[in-house]
Symmetry: C2
Subunit: 344 residues, 2 copies
DNA sequence: ATGAAAGCGCTAACAT
DNA sequence: ATGTTAGCGCTTTCAT
C-alpha cells in the first residue's frame, strides 16, 4: 500500500489534517473538496485502517469464531452476521476452533492481536476458559446458542420450548408411544443443546401424563451414524413406538437413511419430527415436519447486541436472548385415532 | 486493549526494544527471558498487530471475498482456506458480494483499507472491473473457479472434462438419448462454469458421434426452480431421453423433486448424472451418480498459490490451475443394452 | 545483549 | 476552514 494521506496532501497543497478531516466527513471548502476528491480518485488512495485504529483505538473489526464454516446451520448465520456487520461499517475476521480448546484459545488471542472491537463466538462443547484474555481486555463478546456463560451475553434459540412443541404436536395427533433420539451422549460433553431438547421432550410427556419409558430414549452425539444406530436400536424394540422425535439434523439424516434402507414407510409405520429444519426437510419423501431454529433472528440479534455493547451500553448485562423455534408441519406425521391406539 | 509493550518493559525494567526482540524470537539473556515471559503472562500482553503492520507493512491478513458463506459448495472451501491460512499465521477477513458489483468494489476497498497482504476472490458472474484498486495497490489476488481474468491467478476445477466424463459414462452404459440441464441461461451472464459444463456434454456427444438435439438442451440459471422447470420441459418431449446430465446441485435438487412428484423412477425410467456431489447425492433414493468438484484441493491450491505470491514469487504469472473433477458412480444410472435401445 | 530514538499513517487537540 | 504538532504501539537502525 504505497499511497498515503501525505501523498494526497502534497498533490493538493493542503495539510494532512485537512485531508483527514475530509475523509472523516468534516467540513471542507468546496474548492478544496473537489481538489481532494480528484486526487483521491487519481491516486487510488484508501485510508489505512490499521493506522487509523492505532490512533482512535477503534478498529471496526469484529471477530467471528465458529466451529467451522461448513455447517448447514451455522454458515448462513455466519453469512448474515458478516453482511449485517459490513452494513454497519464493521469488518469480520473469522477463525474456526473445531471444538478444540487450543484452537479456541489461539483464535481469541488472534482476535485480540488484531484489536477487534468485539467478538461473536460459538462456544466449545466443553466449557474451558479460553475467553480469559478477552475478559481481561474488556472486549465485548456475544456467544451463540449452546451454553450460558456467566460473564457473557448469549443469543440462541429456545430449544426446550421448540422440542416441547414438537412432541406436543405428536401427542395431539394421537401418539402415545413416542421415542426420542437425543443428543446427550457422553461425547457431546457439556453440550447444553442436547440436554435442552431432551428436556422439552420430557416435559411434554409429563404435562400430558404419558409415562417416560427409558427404552424409548436413544442417546446419540448429533452425528449421522448415531442417528442411524439409534434408530436401529429403537426399531428393534419389542414394543415399537409409533412416533419419534429426533434431536438434530444429522441424526435425522441418519435415521431416515436407515428407515429407507429397511423399507419402513414414513409416516405410515412411523411418524417423525425433527429438530432443525434444513435442506433435506423439503427434499425428503415425504417432506419432514420439523422445528426450525430462527437462524436469521439469531444472526440479527447477536449483531444488534454486540453493536450495543461496542457502543458502551452495558444495560442488562449479561443478556440471554432466547428466540422461539417454530414448528413447520409437513407430511411425516400420521394422525392416529385415540381408540385405535388404545385398542392395540 | 490496555496492556502494551511499554507495560511489559516497565514491569521488567527492560527496554521496549528488548521486549520487541523477544516477542519476535530474538535472543535474550536467560534471566530476562524468564522475566519477560512471566510479565507477559501476568499482564496478558498480546502484541498489537495493527501497530506491528504499520511498521513492517505486513498485516498477515488475507481477504476472502465470496458470494456468501451459505453455499454448500463454497462454504467448506471457505472453511478450509481459513484454517490453512491460520496455520500459516495469517488471519482472514471475509466479505460477501452477493454478485453485486457495488458490493464487490466495496469489499475490495475494505480489504485494501485493512492492509491485507493478499486476497482470494470468487469473481462475479459478470466481469466488471471491481479489482482495479487491488491491481493499483499491487496486492496479490487469487480468483476461484469461474472465469479466467487476464491479470489474476485462478484456481478451479476442470468442469469441461468433468462433464465430459459424466456424459461419456452415460454413453458407455448404452445411452444415446441424453438430455442436459445446462446453466447457460442469459441470467447467468458470463458465468463460465455453465458454458464449460455444456461444452463437456457437447464434446462427449461429438466424440461418440451422437447427433446433438437442440430440444434435449434445457438451459437454466443454476437455481432449484430452473432445474424443476427444465426437467418438466424435457419430460414433456415426445421423444423422451433415457438419460439426463444436470449441470449443478440446485438444478439437480429441482429436477429430482419433479421426478419424485411425478412418480418417475430413477433409474428405471430415467438415468441421471449430476454435476456437483453434495449432501443430497447420498441421501437420495437411489444414491446419485455425480461429478465431484475437488473442493479440498481448490482450497489447498488457492492458499498455496497466494502464499507464493505474497512471498513475492511471481513465476508463471498468471497461473490457471484447473483441478480434475471426478465421477462418483452410484445407483442413478441404468445400463441399457444397445440392442434394446436400437430396437426402440 | 541491551537501549535510545526515529518513524510507519493516521487522528485529535490546539492554534491560526 | 486550515495548519501544526504530538503520539497511538510497534519495529528497526544504530549505539553502547
Amino acid at each position: 500500500m504505497a499511497v498515503t494521506i501525505k501523498d494526497v496532501a502534497r498533490e493538493t497543497n493542503l495539510a494532512i489534517s485537512t485531508i483527514s478531516k475530509y475523509m472523516n466527513g468534516g467540513n471542507v471548502r468546496g474548492k478544496n473538496r473537489k481538489l481532494i476528491e480528484e486526487a483521491v480518485q487519481r491516486l487510488g488512495y484508501r485510508p489505512n485502517n490499521a493506522a487509523r485504529g492505532l490512533r482512535s483505538s477503534r478498529s471496526f473489526l469484529v471477530g467471528l469464531i465458529l466451529d467451522g464454516l461448513d455447517n448447514q446451520f451455522f454458515s448462513p448465520i455466519a453469512s448474515q452476521i458478516t453482511e449485517r456487520l459490513n452494513e454497519q461499517g464493521y469488518h469480520v475476521i473469522v477463525c474456526c476452533h473445531r471444538d478444540s480448546i487450543k484452537k479456541a484459545r489461539k483464535s481469541v488471542d488472534f482476535m485480540l492481536e488484531n484489536q477487534v472491537d468485539g467478538m461473536i463466538l460459538l462456544p466449545l462443547s466443553s466449557d474451558e476458559d479460553y475467553l480469559e484474555s478477552a475478559r481481561i481486555n474488556r472486549v465485548p463478546v456475544v456467544t451463540l446458542d449452546r451454553l450460558e456463560m456467566p460473564d457473557f451475553d448469549m443469543v440462541g434459540s429456545n430449544a426446550a420450548v421448540g422440542s416441547y412443541n414438537a412432541v406436543e404436536y405428536l401427542i395431539q395427533q394421537g401418539h402415545r408411544k413416542i421415542a426420542v433420539l437425543s443428543g446427550t451422549d457422553k461425547k457431546t460433553g457439556g453440550l447444553k443443546a442436547g440436554q435442552e431438547r431432551l428436556k422439552g421432550y420430557k416435559r411434554a410427556l409429563e404435562d400430558y401424563m404419558i409415562p417416560l419409558k427409558e427404552e424409548y430414549i436413544a442417546s446419540g452425539d448429533f452425528s449421522f451414524s448415531s442417528g442411524y444406530e439409534g434408530m436401529k436400536r429403537i426399531w428393534q424394540l419389542k414394543d415399537r413406538p409409533t412416533a419419534i422425535f429426533i434431536s438434530n439434523y444429522n441424526m435425522t439424516l441418519g435415521a431416515v437413511t436407515l428407515l429407507h434402507n429397511l423399507g419402513i414407510a414414513i409416516p405410515e409405520e412411523l411418524s417423525l419430527v425433527s429438530f432443525d429444519d434444513l435442506e433435506f426437510s423439503e427434499l425428503c419423501q415425504p417432506n419432514l415436519t420439523a422445528v426450525r431454529q430462527p437462524a436469521e433472528e439469531i444472526a440479527k440479534e447477536s449483531v444488534d447486541l454486540l453493536l450495543k455493547r461496542m457502543q458502551g451500553d452495558y444495560t442488562n448485562f449479561p443478556e440471554y436472548r432466547k428466540l422461539p423455534a417454530k414448528l413447520f408441519i409437513r407430511d411425516s406425521v400420521r394422525a392416529i385415532s385415540r381408540n385405535a391406539e388404545t385398542a392395540t
